[in-house]
Amino acid sequence: MLMKLRNWLRGSLQVDIRGAAVERFLNLCALHGVAFWKMETLDVDHFTAWVSVGGYTALHPYARKTGCRVRVVAKRGAPFAARKATRRWALWAGLLACALTVAWLSGFVWTIRVEGCETTTPEEVLALMKQVGLETGVRRQELDGRDMRNQLLTITDKYSYFTLNFKGTQAIVQVWEKEHPVEKPEDLPPCNVVSELAGVITALRVRTGKALVRVGDTLQPGDLIASGVIVNENDETQVTLLRADAEADIRTWYTVQTAVPCELQLLEPDGRVEERRYFLLGERIFPLGIIEKRPVPWYDKQIKTHYLTLHEDFRWPVALERHRTLLCETKEASVDRDALAEILENRMLERLLAQKPGAQVQQSDFTLEQSPQGAWLGVLKVELVETTGRQVPMG
């Protein structure tokens, strides 16, 4: 195997040898170090053999001396392959273009890795990085790590330090989050507890301080629930200031209204479809083909992106995106009252509860009526039980 490789690298020739004194020719060649292999006897005075390029150049004097005629039949090996390849200019041009493309593309940032996130997420850091110019597809030469760090530290106060390093086409962002010292309760200023909501108290929990209200009392926003000022009953001049801690469950009432037009316009695909394809390189989008832009009044767009992935954890910043535009036409549709009532009630309740985390619904009442303006008017009245109590420093 090794010999074969050596012969291929050095190059070899198949020669056709004819002559009356073939034995003498072979002896002379062997004596002077010209080796033959894969010899094939065609006749008593005629045979073929393989010889190295160096051997072929050396055997001519012995062929002349013995009256043998030597003719090259075939050539094999790296020198001949290289000579043949030199004429293939398209191959070399392709290789050069490939090398130049790889060299050019390796000057860009294609992946960003964020390290050191504990209380924040890498997505937050990436969003900050984008603000200062680091995103996939930017040239590495355009990035100045020190300048970016200074900019970042002025933008956010969540992080105490950033470092930006490059490993090939990957940018590694290391962040150090700020550690906020936990304040000890004794260091905090004395305070009262006030209500943030208006309603009737159903339960009261006072952990520190003096309760100023009772169950059944009505509260308005800003009313005191508990006081941090404790006066000695025996000596009224002795006053102790505490950090009051209390909360109250209160019943609250809300009324929410939503109007919906009686006649709706529905979009229905009319069967016409326009497809456009794009090539995504980092954050840049290149349209594939000539795209004729024309205004489309109603449409529904479906976007599918196919990323080039190596394995689950790594995705190349190269993708093909297909935009499928379904052209639509509008259609008048009437609204089913019962269905609308059910949907509206659920939606309005969901929206209200999303604004009141922790609240519990006691009862609700929903009405749907047609307004004089020709719209459905949904009115939702809800009774909730919420918890209130905010510490407010004294003075």
Binding site: E23, L26, N27, V34, W37, T41, F47
Partner: protein, 100 residues
């Protein structure tokens, strides 16, 4: 002439003794050919001195102190360099000629 023959016989005896002492083949020290016969299809001759006769039924190879005669049918050289000759074909016999 007789003196030269006597000297040669003495040299051979000394080489034989040295080969026995060193535990190496005598032929190697004397430069005699080494033949490796692979069944009846291939013969490798090392330490040769050249081809004397070349044919498809008989090949004679010169070596030190002898000529090797290979008889058979469809004989042909497959490789040859300064040190070795490889013969292929149907080998019927290998004989040493002109042996002292």
């Amino acid at each position: 002439m007789k003196t030269i023959q006597r000297q040669s016989a003495g040299l051979k005896a000394r080489i034989r003794a040295a080969a026995e002492q060193l535990d190496v083949p005598e032929g190697m020290l004397r430069g005699l050919p080494q033949l490796t016969l692979d069944g009846d299809g291939q013969l490798l001759v090392e330490r040769h001195l050249g081809i004397v006769e070349y044919g498809t039924q008989r090949i004679r190879i010169a070596a030190k102190e002898m000529t090797i005669e290979v008889l058979g049918s469809d004989l042909h050289l497959t490789a040859m360099d300064r040190d070795s000759i490889r013969i292929r074909g149907r080998i019927a016999s290998v004989a040493y000629l002109d042996r002292e």
